[in-house]
Amino acid sequence: MKWHTVETKKGTRCRVLEGGSGAPVVFLHSAGGLLRDNSFLDQLAQRYSVFAPEWPGYGESTGEELLEDMLDFALHGWDLVDALGLRQPHLVGHSMGGMIAAEMACLAPRDLGKLVLVGAAGLWMDEHPIPDIFAMLPHQIAEVLFADPQQGQALLTGGADLSDMEALKDFYVASQRRLAMAGKILFPIPNRRLSKRLYRLTAETLVLWGAADRLIVPAYAERWKALIPNARVQTIDGAGHMLPYEQPEAFVRTVGSFLG
């Protein structure tokens, strides 16, 4: 996999991790960004042309000031697809990325292949309030994101030595920037009324969930299924909200057999 940078018509500059060959798959990352250890992308790239863009406000991607609301975010997704020269890619969105992918699919249902929503944000159920990720201490975040929080903490920091003040400062600044951007569609409640638009989906959809997801509990998978015309649900054991990072093999196997 290699990094490339593309410029969208709107003017954002986005770094995209690309690799593999086969049918195009666009992977949209979660609110925390692409973690460094993302072996599931390498594995996916053995069967597909994989494109994993970094959203503006994440890593080296810029132009976050150009995107303010849900419509901006969804159109930016399609602007990226255009900038990459892709036709009818499969969309795989994780958490916040799932929310964006679903919104993209509602806007332009005929412009994608299949849709995979992985622990997707975007719905709200009063009986299952989603913990407020914007009001958490660092160790609390790992606790809700991962089936195994200790292992998760290491994945989150990507091996950076946070006892080093400079490294801690960089990590803090980058994390503030990422979540500032995510907050535009997730704060204070990650619901921008997608549920009103999901009837428009025509793509075959896989709703994929970690059985131990403590952030957006598996009950949400059933809710997605009920709202999307052509969806099935699959749950993977031993995984929390960060399923692709926690169970990469199972993730790739399941996504692969769905996409074909």
Partner: protein
């Protein structure tokens, strides 16, 4: 110097084990800790104190806005100011202020502030804070990364509404109104003095200087810790080629006056410790949602912005530390005078927001401290800025002939002839 008597209006009945049992005094503080029947007495005591402050000769009396907060019982400071407008007639009403991002639509602030200015005969000082992240983001649901942009727009609408003599259309990003037509308008022209309470955001300095607004640094951490920030502000003032009138800046300071230093400790220590240990116990993530501070400010302060560090300071505070490090200026009138002179000159401020009521301080102690200050300290600090004596740019300009509502007793006299028509 102008002295404003300020009451944060804390809830005085937080339990002793509040810190251990609860993670935050703000946002998710259990509402069962509030007792409205006791609250009745509390509000009246606090309002009485503000009225008393006017009688002592304070230039202004002040209130502010907080939500879901155990140390600030004023979700609506305008209600408090309205009550004060009817019972006072001389002091400036410093509403510091309305967190304008949370008002929908923001014209509401233009209207209510205009009402207060008119009722009080032109005594309003209007504060426009961005609002703390606890209030604006966590309690009022505003998106952190868009808060400042929305603030700028709300400010633009309010100022335009006060300035315009014609109805106009406002096509904003967050607010669209086809007919903006502020009615009533404020007495003070072109508008009441505007104060911008800021924490450490460097953008706020430029905003104040762009419009020549007062910059108010409201910290509870005392003037020694406030110094570097105010130094930064004054550097910015010089760089922008503005005059350095001390009235451009205000600072909030906790003050406790007694006959002697020892008596100050005996009278006030437990109440100040209540304030620092219970009232400032805020769950750190509530103070720092990503996007609330601009990236420039995050990088400028970076780790010092990590409020955990700030919270650490508050653990195990002692009275000695509070006094030595000047979180609190406390002691005999002479001690307080000396330290305040250092504070005022060191920070170069023309306005002091004086916090006499702290934590769970009983009424009589609050009055005792305020009275000693008014009689034995304030007169000695009045003329610290002789060269700026006539600079009234950041102070109220009331009507000369105004109603004295506290002297009017409706119903006690016969209806006036003109009412009978």
């Amino acid at each position: 110097m102008k002295f404003t008597w300020f009451n944060l209006m804390p809830w005085p009945y937080l339990p002793d084990d509040f810190r251990e049992k609860h993670r935050s005094v703000w946002v998710d503080i259990p509402s069962t800790l509030y007792d409205p029947r006791k609250g009745h007495e509390v509000y009246h005591t606090y309002l009485d104190q503000l009225e008393y402050a006017e009688s002592l000769g304070f230039d202004g009396i002040g209130c502010n806005e907080h939500h879901q907060n155990g140390y600030g019982l004023m979700p609506s400071p305008n209600l408090i100011a309205a009550a004060l407008a009817r019972r006072t007639s001389r002091a400036a009403l410093c509403v510091i202020g309305n967190s304008i991002v949370g008002y929908n639509p923001p014209i509401r602030v233009a209207e209510e502030f205009a009402m207060l200015d008119v009722i009080s005969g032109g005594r309003l000082i209007a504060g426009f804070p961005v609002g703390t992240p606890m209030d604006t983001n966590f309690c009022y649901g505003q998106i952190p990364a868009l808060t400042r942009d929305k603030y700028r727009e709300a400010h633009e609408m309010i100022m335009k509404a006060w300035a315009s003599d014609e109805p106009f259309a406002f096509d904003g990003k967050y607010n669209q109104l086809r007919w903006v037509n502020c009615w009533p308008k404020p007495i003070q022209k072109p508008h009441p003095p505007i104060y911008i309470p800021g924490g450490g955001s460097i953008e706020t300095w430029d905003f104040c200087l762009d419009y020549d607004y007062n910059y108010s640094y409201l910290s509870f951490f005392g003037y020694l810790r406030g110094k570097s920030l105010l130094d930064g502000y004054w550097e910015r003032v010089a760089k922008r080629g503005k005059d350095d009138s001390p009235y451009r800046a205000a600072f909030a300071q906790i003050i406790c006056v007694a006959d002697t230093d020892a008596e100050a400790e005996a009278l006030y220590a437990e109440h100040c410790l209540y304030f620092f240990n219970r009232c400032l116990h805020v769950f750190p993530p509530f103070a720092d949602p990503p996007g609330y501070r601009t990236m420039a400010t995050v990088k400028y302060g970076a780790l010092s912005q990590l409020t955990q560090a700030r919270q650490k300071i508050l653990e195990n505070l002692t009275w000695k530390q509070l006094v030595d490090e000047r979180f609190v200026i406390a002691g005999s009138p002479e001690t307080v005078r000396q330290q305040l002179e250092e504070c005022i000159k060191g920070l170069r401020i023309g306005h002091l927001f004086c916090l006499f009521h702290n934590g769970n301080m009983p009424d009589w102690k609050t009055r005792h401290s305020s009275k000693l200050f008014a009689e034995k300290v304030m007169p000695h600090l009045r003329d610290l800025w002789p060269e700026w004596k006539h600079d009234e740019r950041w102070w109220m300009h009331p009507m000369d002939e105004r109603v004295r509502p506290e002297e009017r007793r409706p119903g006690a006299e016969k209806p006036r002839a003109e009412w009978k028509r």
